[in-house]
Structures are given as C-alpha cells and as structure tokens.
C-alpha cells in the first residue's frame, strides 16, 4: 500500500500527481471465499478490514451492487458519539468511539474525525431528568459526559437562543466532549483501501440475487454475475435488509424508512460543535467546508426512494431557525434522504440468523455511521468465530421473541 503523508504529497507534486496508485483493485471474483460480505458500505468494509487485520482471514470478498460507500455511508450527517443510555448500547458505541480516535492512523487515511463535542439540549423538566439519567449512566460506564445549565450552554454555543422567551426555553444540556464528526466518504474509502491492501477483494457493480443453501446451511451467494461460494456469509445491507432477508427466507423486526437531511450553503464558521434537540426536533453541525449539516426526522412510512416528505424538512428547518434565529437568512442548499432500517427498540441486530453460516448486521436506524468501526469490529469477530462477539450478544434477533429488548427508543427518545 502506497503510504500517505504530507511529505508524499509534496513529492508527488513534482510529478504532477501522475503516479498515485489506485486505492483499491478491481478484482475478478474467486470461486470461493472463506467469508463473503454482502454490502460495501462503511460497516461491510470495516468488517472486511478487521477480519483481515484482527483475525488474519484475508480470503474475503465484499460484494456491492453499486459503488463503495454509496448507501447510508454517503448520506448521513456524520455525527459520532457514544452517549447512549443503556449499558449494552453505550458499550457498543463506546467501543466504536475508541476505534474512531485512532482510525486515521490505523488506516493511514485521514477520516477527519474531529472531537468537537456533542450537546443534547434540554427544554423541559423531563428532558433534564433524562439528561441526568444519561449522564450519570455514562459516567458509571467510564464514558465522560457532563450536564450544563442554561448559562453554561449560552457561553459554549454562541448563537443559540438561550433566552427565556423562546417557545421551549433551553434549560440545560448534556455534552459529550469526545463526540464529534468525521468525513463520511473517507471512512468507506479508508477501510476499502486498507482492506484491499490486506488482500480483500472488493467486488463492485455486482448484485446478490439470492443465497445458495445446502441442508439449511448457506454455501454461497448467487449474483447477477454468477455464483460465488462462501464458507460464511455476512449480510450488512442497510436500506435493503428486508428484501435480502426475504431472499434468504426469513423475516425481521425491521422496517426501512426514509431519513432526511439537508445542508445550507457553505458559510464561515458559526457552529463549532454538534447540537441536538429532541424536544424542538432538529440537530445541526457545520462541516469543514462550511455547510451547516442538519438532520431531519424519520418519515413514518416504509420507503426505499431515498427521499421523504417535505413537511419533515419544514419542521426541521423551523426547529433550526427557532434554536438559531440568526440563521433565518442563511439559505438551504440541498436536501436528500437515506434509508434507515429501524427496529422496535432502536438498536441493531447483530448475529446469527435462521440460516446457518449466514450472519446479519442490520437495524442500526439512525445510529449506523457513528458505530461503523465498532460494528465492523464486532461483526468481524462474529464471522470469524461463528458466534456473536460479547458486545454483540445482547443484540440478537431472539430478543424480539423473549422480550429482552435493549430499549434505547423507549427508555429515552435520544436517537440519531
């Protein structure tokens, strides 16, 4: 792998950048792999990378019907945080956050992970109780989190309207200072490049059309370009989980909904951190390019169109203008939608499926991007060992039968 560095850039500038190598190959698929991963989004690519790096399993293919990182990896609002309420979920996201902190160096690819802090605003007394619950839960789990009062919030977030005259005055906020943003595309490309360098085959423009089974055990995948054998198959296809699971012959407690987002035109720095409000219903950060990146809500119906309903955009923009009235004259440039696979408890499903040797990693809802390294790491272990990684265990499908949900959704409406 051609090593990246500032010096390298300097050197290449003398040859007019004509000698940069490909970041990944375009391999011809082999007949059989130890592991086939379906879906080359961030999670799938991270899984492949950790399979090769941590478990030494390099006879791996990642099969992608479109282009690398072209699903939700390319469409999210790039927030990374681990301040989840419940022990099981915060452990998983904190595992991811720790990997994030070294990711650029690990991959030799700058994923621009910036720990600029993430605030959850509180607008009513129940918000304050929920924040206290969250913050103290995180502290017990060794995840620093703080609770600020209105005055502190006003000091730390300059243009936030903290006056008592707003419709829902800001009463405080929790802040995870280690949270922040990363550059979404770079995550997929960095993992892809690193996985490729370790021998993983990244097979783009190849669609999995079915699963070949023998005696109830999966032995490979059918694709539009022919059969590819596999000892184990991992399915990581956010936004297409239901249809693909149907092809494998099972149903999931998953619905796929549009999740919308929007950006402003690029402006000079004005928002320095990630600011989220559940009560007012909006969240915002500013990218390095200067765009205000704003997350909207989930549409209530199933939709694969990568677009949702306009009122959701309106409500979100209203919320942002309510929180930051100075942004009223700033202009919205572009809106889009991703497809999120939602589960009843807003937590993912990681582990075995009714089909032997077919493993699944899905249902991340709005939390997928921030989990990318952790998700890949535990799913790689799961695929390597044939049984769930300890951090993944609580997230089995069976919990929807026994009732042992990890109910982030119900316990506190803190999502995204």
């Amino acid at each position: 792998m051609q090593r990246y560095s500032g010096f390298g850039l300097f050197k290449h500038s003398f040859s007019h950048h004509e000698n940069w190598q490909r970041m990944w190959r375009n391999p011809t698929p082999k007949a059989v792999y130890d592991v086939v991963i379906v879906g080359a989004g961030g999670h799938g690519l991270a899984t492949a990378y950790y399979l090769a790096k941590v478990h030494g399993i390099t006879n791996v293919a990642v099969i992608e019907k479109g282009w690398l990182g072209g699903g939700n990896t390319a469409r999210n609002t790039t927030i990374v945080r681990s301040n989840y309420l419940l022990d099981e979920s915060s452990a998983l996201y904190e595992h991811a956050l720790k990997l994030w902190e070294d990711l650029s160096q690990d991959l030799n690819y700058n994923v621009m992970f910036s720990q600029r802090g993430c605030y959850h605003l509180c607008h009513n007394l129940q918000d304050l109780r929920d924040a206290e619950r969250l913050v103290t839960a995180n502290i017990l789990n060794g995840i620093p989190n703080e609770l600020l009062d209105t005055r502190q919030v006003a000091e730390e977030i300059p243009y936030l309207d903290c006056s008592p005259n707003t419709r829902y005055p800001v009463l405080g906020a929790s802040v995870q200072r280690r949270a922040g943003n990363a550059r979404h595309d770079a995550v997929a490309w960095g993992y892809a490049r690193a996985a490729d360098a370790l021998g993983v085959d990244l097979i783009q423009q190849t669609e999995v059309t079915g699963f070949r089974k023998q005696d109830g055990v999966v032995i490979g995948v059918e694709t539009n370009k022919g059969f590819i054998g596999a000892k184990r198959v991992g399915m990581v296809v956010a936004g297409n989980t239901g249809p693909l699971a149907a092809k494998a012959g099972f149903r999931l407690p998953v619905e796929s909904h549009p999740l919308q987002a929007l950006v402003s035109e690029p402006i000079k720095p004005i928002i320095d951190s990630v600011i989220m409000s559940n009560a007012v219903h909006g969240y915002i950060s500013q990218s390095d390019k200067g765009d205000l990146v704003i997350g909207a809500g989930i549409d209530g119906w199933v939709g694969y169109g990568q677009r949702g309903s306009y009122p959701i955009i309106e409500h979100t923009v209203e919320a942002i203008a309510e929180m930051f009235p100075v942004l009223s004259r700033v202009r919205m440039n572009r809106q889009w939608g991703g497809i999120v696979d939602t589960t009843p408890d807003a937590c993912p499903i990681i582990g075995t499926t009714p089909v032997k040797n077919l493993f699944i990693n899905c249902g991340w809802g709005t939390g997928g991007f921030k989990a990318t390294p952790g998700s890949g790491h535990v799913f790689a272990a799961t695929l390597a060992k044939g049984e769930p990684h300890p951090l993944a265990k609580p997230f089995s499908i069976e919990r929807f039968h026994t009732g042992a949900l990890v109910d982030e959704h119900g316990a506190a409406a803190v999502a995204h």
Partner: protein
C-alpha cells in the same frame, strides 16, 4: 466612477433611474433593471472574488442561476446580511451593499493567492485524506485553519427583522419557466380555462426572449412576451409569479416555489399599507399537471486558464449586451462547437465592438448564423479552439490552435490573439434538475449532446417542453410549449384550444460537435489548469487523478473531487466533468450516468422554509380557561407537551423550593387549588363501553357501579405501561375516562385504532371532551369545608364517598364533582363547562380566603403525589415498565376472561424474569439530602469502572411535610431489597446514601382522605 462598459443605448434598463450601490466598500452606479452582476460588469469590475482552494481571481461568467463565481455577501446591517447571493440573480436596488466572500486582505491583492499558487500544487483532489494525520492530536488545529479558509459568506449575527410566509396553492397546470416554451404553454392552458400557475425565477417573464436577437412575427421577441403576459393577466384563474423559483419537485406533484417578494426593493421588506409584508414567500403547490419549460444551460468549454476573469459563457455575453446594455470588454474571441454561439458574435458586432476571431471546433460550419458572421467579415478559425489564456487578473490573449477532438490532441502550434473577453460555448445542457428530483434518471440524447428528462416512475404527471426536451429552434420551442400546455390542460379535463403561434425566421442550423475538454499540447496533469467546476476549483487534471486512483463511478468522482458540490450544484460543470471522466475510463457519457439531482434547484432561505412558524408561532401554546387567573397570581409556567401549566406560584422573594414548600404545607394543613383541566378526558358511550374498558385497561371494569370511579392502567401489547387515569361510570353505558395530559390524543387514537380495526363489532363511541370541561381540584383537610360554602351537593362522608362522583351546582354553575385524590388528602375535582370556570374559580377563591386557599402548580402536585407513591406515567415509567414492575399488580385483572391488551406481553420470558427494575422508594440516610432526579444509583460505589448500575431515580424531592428527602426509583430487584442501601454518585463527586423503602412515604394507611 463611470460605467465604462455601459453601451450608449439598448437593454431593458431604465436609464432615467440611476441607482447607487457599493461593492467592497467602493461606490458605483447602475440603473433600475440591472442585475447586480450587470451593474458590476457595467462598471468594469473584473474580480468579484477569489477561488475557494487556490485563491485565484475570479470574475462573472454567466448571467443566471448557473453562475459559479459571483457569490457575494449582501446586506447593509448586521441583521440583514445574506451570504452567498448570486449577483446574476440579484436585482439592483438603491443602497445595495455587496462584498466578496473570499480574499484577504482584499480580492485584488490577495495574499492567500500566493499561498494558493505555491500550495496549490500540493492540493490535488482528496489531498486532505492523505495528510494532516500526524501527529494525531494536531488534527483539530489543522482543521481550525481549514474551516477558517472554507465557507463562503457570513451568517448574520443578529436576528432577522423580516417575516416569511407560506401560501398553499392548487392548480390544474403549473408551468415552470416563462421563456418561450413556458409562455406558450401557459397561454394554451389558460385559454382552456384551467387553473394555471406560471412561475419564473427571473425579474420579469420572457426568459431567453428578453435578450434574443431572433424576431417573432418580424418584431423584437420582447413585444410578443408583453402581448402574452397581457393576455395571461386577463384570466382570473391564472396566477403569475415572477421572481419565483420552482425549487423542489416532490412526490405526488407537490412542488415548492420560492418567491422573493421584496428582495429587489431593499435589504428588508418595505412597510405596506397595514403591516410589513413578507420578504419571501414559499408557495406549496399541488398541481394536477406540471409543465417543465425550464430551458437549458449553456456549457462553457474547458481549456487552459479558463477561469481568468474575462472568460464567459457565450450566451451570457449576449444577455449583458442586449438585456442590460453592457459589453464586458472590447475585443472578443469566441470559442464554440455549435451554431447558436455565433449569435453572441453578431450581438457584439451590433454593439459596435470588435470580434477578434471565432474558433469553431467544427471543420466546416455552414449554418445561417455562421454565414452571417462570415459575411460581416469575422475571422473564423475552423477545426480550432481556444486552448490557453494569458492574463493574471484579466484576459489579455487567447491561444487558438487546431485540434483533433476525437484523438484528443492539438494539431497545430496555434497563435496567441490579443483580446479582453473570451466567450465560449460547448453546447447546451437541458435543465433536468426538477424532472429528476424524484429519482427519474435523465437519458442521454446524442443528437443534442445532452441529458433530457427520463421517465417519471409512474407517479408524477408532468410534461416537458422546449429546450429541456432537447428542442432548441425557437419555432419548435414555441410549438412544443403550446402543445404541452394544451395537453396538460386536456388531461385535467379541459377542452382543446387553438392559437396561432408567432412566425419565426427560417435558417439552417447545423449540429453541435462533441467537445467538452479542449486538448492541450501537454498532458492534462501538466497543462495549465483547466477548470471544470469553478466554485470548487475542480480541474480536468483532478478528475483524471480521481479516475486513476480508482474512483470510477460518477458519484465517486463527484465526492472525491467535490465536482458539483457548490451552491450552483454544478450547473455549468457537471456534464463537462462527466465527459472527462468518461474519456479517462474509455466509456461513453450515458454509461457514466449522472449524479442524483436533489432539491433545491437554487438555495432557499431557512426563513422562507419556516414561514410564519417562527418565534411565538413556532408551535401552538395551549392554555386552559383559567390562564388569565394564573397569570394574575404570578404563576411560573412549565411546558407539558404544548400546554403551558402553572409550575408554581411564587410570592415575592420566593424561589421554587420556598414556594413549593409553602404550597405543600397549605395542602397538607388546609386546602390548595390546582388547575387540572389539561388532563385528557374522553366521553365513552355504548352498550359495549364497559367491555371495551375491560380490554384496554389492565384491571376489571365489569362491576363498577354508576356513580363510582376507578383508577386504571393501560399497557401496550408488550405489557408496558403507557397511560393511566381515573374513569368514572356516569350511567350504565356511559363513562368518562381521564388520561394523562400528554397522553390525551394518543390514547384516543389508540382506542379508535382497536375499535375500528380489531373490534368494529363492539357498540361504543369515543369523543374527546378535554377542552369542554375545566377541572378545579380542591385538596386538603379543609376542602370539604370550603366546597360546602359554594355548593348544594351533600358532601358528607357518607353521602359522598371516596371514588364516587356527584352532580350539583358549584357557585351557581352545574358541575360534576369527583371525590378522588392524587395528594392523599381529602380532595374534590370540580368539573365545569369551561366557559363558566373563571366565575366558579373566583367564587371559590373568595370563599377560600378564610382557609388560606393556596393555588399550587405541577411541582407541588408532584411532591404531594410522590409522598404518596403515586406514579406519573412518563416520569416514573418509560416504555420498559410493566404494572408488576411498578408493584401495581393489584391493578391487573389476572382472571379477566378476555386477554386484555398487555396481558400476553407482561407474561413473556423477559417480563417475568427476576431482577427487573422495580419501583421503590428511596430515603436518603442524611435527611437533608435530595437525590438528583434522573440520576443513577449503585449498590457498590467502590466497584471499579464500569460500575454496574442498580437503577435510576425517577422522582425526587425534599418533603417538607416529612422533613427529609424522598425519591421514587426503579431499582433492579428493588421489591426484594427493602431496607438495603443504594448509593448515588453525583456529578459533583458526592456520594448520597439512601435506603430502599416502600414507595408510600406519607400516610401509608390512606387515612387522610377520609378526614371528617
């Protein structure tokens, strides 16, 4: 300063109305009718900004929405700043203040530019992925400088003084674009009698007809425009929206139109006859049919140093000459691959200026305009193109050489021609944005070398007309437009229309040659920079590099290079970029495909999207009938959902704690008054009402007699508590259900859901009466004495027992009075038709003076009920708590014949297992301690991290009645742990020790409500 580039005559400007404005602190003058860009060009302003990455000087290149460079800061005051205004789309007004968004110390002498020149070599696409990684902790520092350098304009720093508005519109036919196709469309549709909306982004209708040299019926095209607009104004069902950009095409033919109502008049909206009107308005349109007559954007050619100020798109040059009377130079070089661009050379000649040469990439062009130029003596270099430009701050010369477009090479050394303006035209890209917002993929049309709108995925009823369809000849455009308008109207049920279209001139037009990036004698990576996306500094070499590094899909190229990510969303550059990537990959353009098109077509103010839903109107505030009285009593309010509820009633000098202590004492010692009107109330009638209650509540309702009331819990199918309340039996088939304040609407919806979908055979109806009844709660040992002063109801303990209700008059008003208690004290809830509640309240307050009747708010209510261990759903529960977890198994009818909602769910493996979190009381060991509400508690405070949580505190208060803190908490296996200790490690580092106790702290036997 004089307008050096203003022509002596011509243009649609009003020379009698000069307007002053400033740009970068310098004063200039333009005319009414100018765009800001036209006025800047008229004044010879070359450099309007610096480029984003390399800090190169940039000038105006286009005249419309596709302009990538002239992105300016507008606004005279801190509160009226607008960042990133496209100067080509901003009408000039007197007093306009504009400035560049980049450049330090200023755009003409930019120090960053030097850095850009040196550092630029080290900034190929994606350079940031390859560096700034080491040392790891430096990234935030690097990033600080990257962020400072990035971004264009500045947000205002003070709140917007303007208003914004929404207008919902419906129509049979929405015509988007009022150029030739749109006007003809609108005319056809309007004549049929249809409801028509015609919207155009321009200051006036006409589009390309406002500056074309082509004539209609032998007259200037503008005269036909005026005639059509005049006719359209005669139809009452036609809505004309100039300055209105259709920005988003959403599902089921819903479109948004952004109207800039007053942006042409000044920074802020001028006062109207009654009030200040909206600065901008967002029209939310549902159209039965949409006619997209949105035209095409001319592409520039991509050649070396094509970003030096003085390089423009050919059509824009014509626009400035003919519409604004501005010629941005004297000596023109034109580079083209098509016939239409020759019009610019002819316009230039008509303005009395010199055309140095036309470089036509085609080998033997013979079209009518070509011949006209030839006949007027213009030098035409065929088989040639501009390959390089000289000049640092302005074009000084163009190098024209012979090229072989198919072999992608230069075939002659060429020559440098002195000039001060280079106009280029690489063909026309239909504006497929709106047509593609819903995912329909544009299809490549080889004959016009452009993408046209693709299929509509079945749902969207739209027609395309004119240039967007790849129809470019004016006569064909008009016919296409008229036909589209007639078709759209007839599809919505209107009759056929006819009409004569104006006569256009006959001429020979020859096809465009496929040329996008012009070859240079050096390989692209070593040639002078050939810009594809000017706003994002994306060059042809950058695209080559992306492909070389493995970014082969169009989305990858876009994302790696930032092609098309600017505020112009790549209107000029995308097709050129695509063509370059296709060339590098050895595929054709349709194989590459396009990136996705998303709203907005052009940016929209957040204010306009929010409309009037801002400030005080951001969300409804709901009030009870007694609001005025609460305000008079000095209440502080708490937001509970949309309700404003009195939180506490402080007296002078009191804080929350003092006020609550006083209010609690008043209730415990004498009598307090609570406005409980916000509780949800549902009137339920029907012979199956009782059975329905059996199914939706966890407890049994079969035996509740008329006149009695009962508390009930509701669960979802998973067995988790989701609401509670008291329901009274008013008559055999008649019940009044109460719900939590926040749950009122969802409980009613949930009842309807089960009734309508699962049990439609049950004879029962539900109607909300939340707003009809006002509820005044009198609570405390003196409540009976007080109430008896104002009622004729027999309040004796025997005549009016606990959990029963009575009818009678209170303060002369018919009332239903319920004897139920949420405080543990003797309590009466007086329900009155809300219209009469204020009078009743005043009478009670008057009568209550002798008992020190004290109004109390939600905080005191919470303390009093917590002392009694009464839960608040949503505070002491989340959606993971069963009735058994709450130690409320007494409220579950375990033997009810029908498997009520929740029963199966609360009997699953996980809901039955030991060690679930259960609701208990916590009593701090130190009487003065109050546990933080919401905080986690642990069994083993000294356990190394992670410390296992024992549960969390759901409610916590200082109980003045008991003299110590009290709390309710959900503790793992709590009910089995009575007497054990838990510890709350607080955020400020203290450790509060508490004992697990019964959740009923006060009057555990419940005797106080039976006080005589």
């Amino acid at each position: 300063m004089s307008q050096i580039n203003r022509l002596a005559s011509g243009g649609r400007i009003d020379r009698s109305k000069p307007l002053s404005f400033t740009f970068n602190g310098q004063s200039y003058q333009g005319y009414a009718g100018d765009s800001l860009a036209a006025a800047l060009l008229a004044n010879g302003v070359d450099i309007i900004g610096r480029s984003f990455k390399y800090s190169r000087p940039r000038g105006i290149v286009a005249a419309g929405a596709e302009e990538p460079n002239a992105i300016l800061q507008i606004g005279a005051r801190a509160d009226t700043q607008v960042p990133n205004v496209r100067a080509t789309q901003q009408a000039l007004f007197g007093g306009l203040v504009a400035s560049s968004t980049n450049g330090w110390p200023n755009v003409n002498n930019d120090l960053m530019g030097i850095l850009g020149k040196v550092g630029g070599k080290m900034m190929p696409p994606g350079f940031y992925y390859k560096t700034f990684m080491y040392p790891q902790n430096m990234w935030l520092t690097y990033e600080k400088y990257i962020r400072k350098a990035a971004g264009l304009g500045r947000a205002p720093t003070e709140n917007d003084p303007d208003l914004y508005d929404h207008m919902n519109r419906h129509c049979d036919v929405l015509v988007v674009g009022a150029g030739p196709a749109g006007l003809a469309s609108a005319l056809a549709a309007a004549r049929s009698g249809a409801r028509v909306i015609l919207a155009d982004e321009g200051e006036e209708f006409g589009g390309s007809l406002l500056d074309t040299r082509e004539q209609l019926d032998g007259m200037p095209a503008g005269e036909w425009v005026a005639k059509v607009v005049a006719e359209l104004k005669t139809f009452p069902e036609v809505v004309l929206l100039p300055r209105s950009t259709v920005n988003g095409y959403h599902d089921h033919n819903f479109l948004t139109i952004h109207e800039r109502c007053t942006d042409h008049l000044g920074d802020t909206a001028p006062m109207g006859p009654f009030a200040r009107p909206a600065r901008q308005r967002l029209h939310r349109v549902r159209a039965k049919r949409v006619v997209l007559a949105v035209g095409a954007h001319e592409r520039p050619l991509v050649y070396g140093n094509n970003d030096v100020p003085g390089n423009m798109v050919a059509g824009a040059v014509s626009t400035y000459i003919r519409r604004y009377g501005v010629a941005p130079g004297n000596k023109l070089v034109l580079a083209t691959n098509n016939d239409y661009a020759y019009k610019t050379a002819l316009d230039w000649l008509d303005a009395g200026l010199k055309v140095v040469a036309i470089a036509d990439a085609r080998s033997n062009p013979r079209g009518s305009w070509v011949e006209e130029a030839r006949s007027r003596g213009v030098r035409i270099l065929t088989g040639s193109s501009v390959i390089d430009v000289k000049g640092s701050k302005h074009v000084e010369a163009a190098r024209i050489a012979a090229i072989d477009p198919h072999g992608f090479r230069v075939t002659s050394p060429g020559e440098w021609l002195e000039c001060d303006l280079i106009a280029s035209s690489g063909g026309y890209s239909p504006v497929v944005h709106l047509a593609s917002h819903l995912g329909g993929k544009p299809t490549w049309q080889e004959d016009i070398l452009g993408f046209v709108p693709g299929n509509t995925l079945g749902v969207q009823a739209r027609v395309c007309a004119g240039a967007v369809n790849g129809v470019f000849r004016l006569g064909d455009v008009l016919a296409d437009g008229f036909e589209a308008g007639a078709k759209a109207a007839s599809e919505t049920g209107f009759g056929a229309v006819s009409g004569e279209l104006p006569r256009t001139e006959k001429r020979i037009e020859e096809p465009t040659l496929a040329l996008f990036q012009v070859p240079h004698d050096k390989p692209t990576a070593r040639a002078p920079k050939q810009f594809v996306d000017l706003q994002n500094d994306v060059t042809a070499a950058g695209i080559e590099l992306a492909v070389r590094e493995g970014f082969e899909s169009v989305e990858h190229v876009k994302r790696y290079t930032a092609l098309g990510f600017g505020t112009d969303q790549g209107k000029l550059g995308n097709i050129n970029g695509l063509a370059i990537a296709a060339r590098c990959l050895g595929v054709n353009i349709p194989q590459m495909g396009t990136t996705m098109f998303r709203p907005n077509y052009t940016p929209v103010s957040f204010g306009a999207v929010a409309g009037r839903n801002a400030g005080a109107l951001f969300e409804p505030k709901r009030y009870t009938a007694l609001q005025a009285w609460h305000v008079k009593q000095g209440a502080k309010f708490e937001d509970v959902g949309q309700w404003k509820r009195p939180w506490y009633f402080p007296k002078a000098g009191e804080d929350l704690h003092a006020a609550v202590a006083r209010e609690c004492k008043a209730v415990r010692d004498s009598v307090g008054l609570l406005d409980a009107s916000t509780l949800g109330k549902i009137d339920i009638q029907g012979p199956d009402a009782r059975e329905f209650l059996n199914r939706v509540y966890t407890n049994a309702w079969t035996k509740l007699d008329v006149g009695k009331a009962r508390y009930g819990l509701m669960c979802k199918e998973d067995g988790m508590v989701f609401d509670d309340g008291v329901t009274a039996c008013l008559a055999d088939n008649h019940f009044l259900m109460t719900t939590t304040t926040g749950g009122a609407a969802r409980v009613l919806q949930w009842l309807e859901l089960y009734h309508q979908t699962e049990w439609p055979e049950m004879k029962v109806y539900f109607t909300s009466v939340t707003d009809h009844w006002a509820t005044l709660t009198l609570s405390g040992p003196n409540s009976r004495k007080l109430l008896s002063k104002v009622t004729d109801i027999d309040l004796s303990p025997d005549g009016f027992g606990f959990m029963t209700w009575q009818e009678g008059k209170v303060a002369g008003v018919p009332a239903r009075v319920f004897r139920i208690s949420f405080t543990g004290e003797l309590s009466y809830e007086v329900n009155i038709q809300a219209d009469y509640a204020m009078g009743v309240l005043e009478a009670i307050a008057e009568a209550g003076q002798e008992f020190n009747l004290t109004p109390y708010g939600t905080e005191t209510m919470h303390v009093l009920r917590a002392e009694k261990g009464f839960i608040i759903v949503g505070q002491d529960t989340d959606s993971t708590v069963t009735p058994f977890d709450l130690n409320m198994g007494w409220c579950v009818g375990k033997t009810k014949p029908f498997s009520f909602i929740g029963w199966r769910g609360m009997n699953r493996e996980d809901t039955l297992k030991a060690g679930r979190k259960q609701l208990v009381g916590l009593k701090p060991v130190n009487a003065s301690d109050v546990l933080p509400e919401g905080g986690q508690v642990v069994f083993e405070p000294n356990h190394p991290k992670p410390i296992p949580s024992a549960g969390h505190v759901t409610s916590s208060y200082m109980s003045s009645s008991l003299g110590h803190g009290i709390a309710l908490a959900l503790i793992k296996g709590g009910l089995e742990r009575m007497g054990q200790k838990v510890y709350a490690p607080t955020r400020d580092g203290r450790l509060i020790e508490a004992e697990i106790v019964s959740s009923v702290f006060y009057d555990p036997k419940g005797e106080r409500q039976n006080v005589v």
